[in-house]
């Protein structure tokens, strides 16, 4: 089964300069599956994503795209299969949103990067899908963070990837934007069969959207399973070091009002 998976992390250890941040990761994403990475700050979620998207070399183990070692591919081969949405937004000016999205055609265009009519159609479709068609003529540096996120997503869709990686894609979005993004991702996975791997801080969203949830803590995999298996009070309290009774599945977080915080009073 792991041979056929769109994306497979096999005995993967990740980190910087030989020092492991997370070790022994084994997880796979089939076509149309959404895998979410959750865990406390500093647990290494982003490091895992950086390794999957080839920014970092694995300390050991492999990242496989349909059975092939992703780190042995050329940038262009990998880009034709895998697209990325980063937390940090670039801010180039004097470039329209259409042009930014069209950059996603990079692995598919020729040496001079000329867009064919087919490329243009794909850019239009991607912009519409990401909800950014209306702002296609705007300058990329003069739109809101949320709009910029949509344009960058449209750009990722232009790559027509089999695997889409998103590092905390909800960071710049308001509640409406978060929900809209989750719906777009869900449609991509279920209608187009794109395999999606993302990191999220919002456990409620992760519960709704994920097929699999990978919990990271203390340099290893704390738990891996379906949302039903993972989002239990016991597991969440352990994962995030919560006081007992704070996390209730179905209701999400319940604050204990009137409880004096440490260091106050």
């Amino acid at each position: 089964m792991e041979k056929t998976a769109r994306l497979a992390l096999v005995d993967l250890s990740v980190g910087y300069g030989g020092r492991a941040v997370v070790q022994g990761i084994n997880v796979s994403a089939e076509a149309g599956e959404i895998v979410t990475l959750i865990g406390p700050n500093g647990a290494g979620k982003s490091t895992v994503l950086k390794t999957v998207c080839r920014r970092l070399r694995p300390l050991s183990g492999r990242v496989e795209l349909s059975g092939e070692d992703a780190h042995a591919m050329t940038a262009r081969q990998a880009a034709a299969r895998m697209a990325v949405l980063l937390t940090r937004q670039p801010a180039p000016d004097l470039i329209t949103c259409f042009e930014v999205a069209a950059l996603g055609r990079y692995p598919h265009t020729g040496r001079l990067g000329r867009l064919t009519q087919e490329d243009r159609d794909i850019v239009e479709e991607s912009l519409r899908q990401a909800g950014a068609w209306e702002i296609r003529q705007s300058d990329f540096s003069r739109i809101s963070d949320g709009q910029r996120q949509r344009v960058l997503l449209a750009r990722a869709l232009c790559q027509q990837p089999e695997v889409l990686l998103l590092d905390e894609p909800t960071t710049f979005l308001d509640l409406g934007g978060k929900i809209a993004l989750m719906e777009v991702l869900h449609a991509l996975a279920k209608e187009r069969g794109v395999s999606i791997v993302l990191t999220l801080h919002e456990t409620e969203l992760a519960r709704e959207i994920s097929d699999k949830v990978l919990c990271l803590k203390g340099g290893r995999v704390h738990a891996l399973g379906t949302p039903e298996q993972v989002f239990t009070p016991g597991n969440m309290e352990e994962l995030f070091d919560l006081p007992q009774g704070v996390y209730t599945p179905g209701r999400g977080i319940r604050l204990r009002m009137g409880h004096t915080k440490e260091g106050e009073g």
């Binding site: 880009a79 697209a83 990325v84 004097l94 470039i95 329209t96 950059l103 990079y106 040496r111 990067g113």
Partner: protein, 340 residues
């Protein structure tokens, strides 16, 4: 929008072409001997071989074309550096790269004049290229990947000053004949570019520009930053190597022939972006070259004629127009940061 953008670019190109012809005409007409359009035309067409025609064909035309070609090359070199560092204040002069070329060329000049009696063109080019590359790598080493404009500027300033100091040291101890030669060149001027050297350098610059044009696709993607570019299929290491090599080659071509010329490489790409209303490299590469050509021809014209018969160093004029652009960039960037 696409058509509006194209129309604006077309208008910009037309404007630049018109300015090019205007400055070329003025450069040919003005000087110690003022010539009329008719005289210029007949000289260019070879119908006249009087004193006026000699002045045009032997002096003014090569000098104007040198200013245009080398000014364009210097500007494109700056554009590549700005892409490389992701920083709008990068430029071959500002970062001390021109000073690096000046240093190596001076050393080679002093030794070659002593040992060989003359300096061959390929040797001078090789020295300029080595100096440019060395300083670029040095700056890369010192500034790391810092995106701060101030860090880059300070490192560039220091490296440039060190190179100039060492150059001065060599000049002081070089023999008399060598110094006269070196001193004129180290001030930066288009006047010393011979027709032969111009014809030798033109194919090198042309080849470099074609190579730059072939990099338009990754340059375009690189506008989103290194990580996004890599994720979209840019081979970042090969691309960055090509950027520095071509940038150093272009600025070395200029420095070898004219000496260091200030602020052209940093200011012109910024001005051409504003003029074109786009940062797309397909527009920026020809636009920057053309504007650089016009800018340097205009500055050289001013240097030559403003206080005639005294001639200004061309860097005096380019700095006068170019340095304010750098200041404006710094102010705009810090204003934007406060806004955010």
């Amino acid at each position: 929008m696409e058509t509006a953008g194209k129309r604006r670019r077309l208008a910009a190109y037309l404007l630049l072409s018109a300015a090019f012809l205007l400055f070329l005409g003025l450069s040919l007409a003005s000087g110690s001997m003022t010539l009329k359009p008719g005289e210029i035309l007949s000289a260019l067409l070879g119908k006249d071989d009087g004193a006026g025609a000699q002045v045009i064909l032997r002096l003014r035309l090569p000098r104007a074309l040198a200013a245009a070609l080398l000014g364009g090359a210097l500007s494109v070199s700056g554009y590549l550096l700005q892409t490389f560092f992701g920083n709008p204040v990068a430029g071959p002069y500002v970062l001390g790269i021109s000073s690096g070329a000046k240093l190596t060329v001076s050393i080679v000049m002093v030794f070659a004049l002593q040992r060989l009696g003359a300096l061959s063109f390929p040797l001078m080019m090789a020295a300029a290229f080595a100096g440019s590359m060395a300083v670029t790598l040095l700056i890369l080493l010192f500034s790391g990947r810092s995106r701060s404009m101030a860090t880059l500027l300070v490192v560039g300033l220091m490296v440039g000053n060190i190179c100039s100091a060492v150059t001065d040291f060599f000049v002081t101890f070089a023999d008399e004949a060598g110094v006269a030669n070196l001193h004129a060149w180290s001030q930066g001027s288009f006047s010393g570019v011979s027709r032969e050297n111009l014809l030798r350098i033109a194919p090198v610059i042309l080849a470099a520009l074609i190579a730059v044009r072939l990099l338009a696709k990754p340059i375009s993607a690189y506008r989103l930053g290194e990580t996004y570019a890599a994720s979209m299929g840019v081979n970042v290491r090969a691309f960055r190597t090509a950027l520095i090599a071509l940038s150093s080659l272009l600025s070395a071509c200029v420095t070898a022939l004219t000496g260091p010329i200030s602020f052209v490489g940093v200011a012109v790409p910024q001005l051409s972006r504003m003029l074109l209303g786009s940062s797309a490299p397909e527009a920026m590469i020809p636009g920057t070259f053309l504007l650089g050509a016009v800018f340097c021809m205009g500055c050289d014209l001013i240097a030559r004629t403003a206080f005639a018969p005294t001639e200004l160093a061309v860097s005096t004029v380019t700095a006068f127009f170019g340095a304010p652009v750098v200041i404006a960039l710094m102010l705009r960037r810090s204003a934007r940061r406060e806004e955010a």
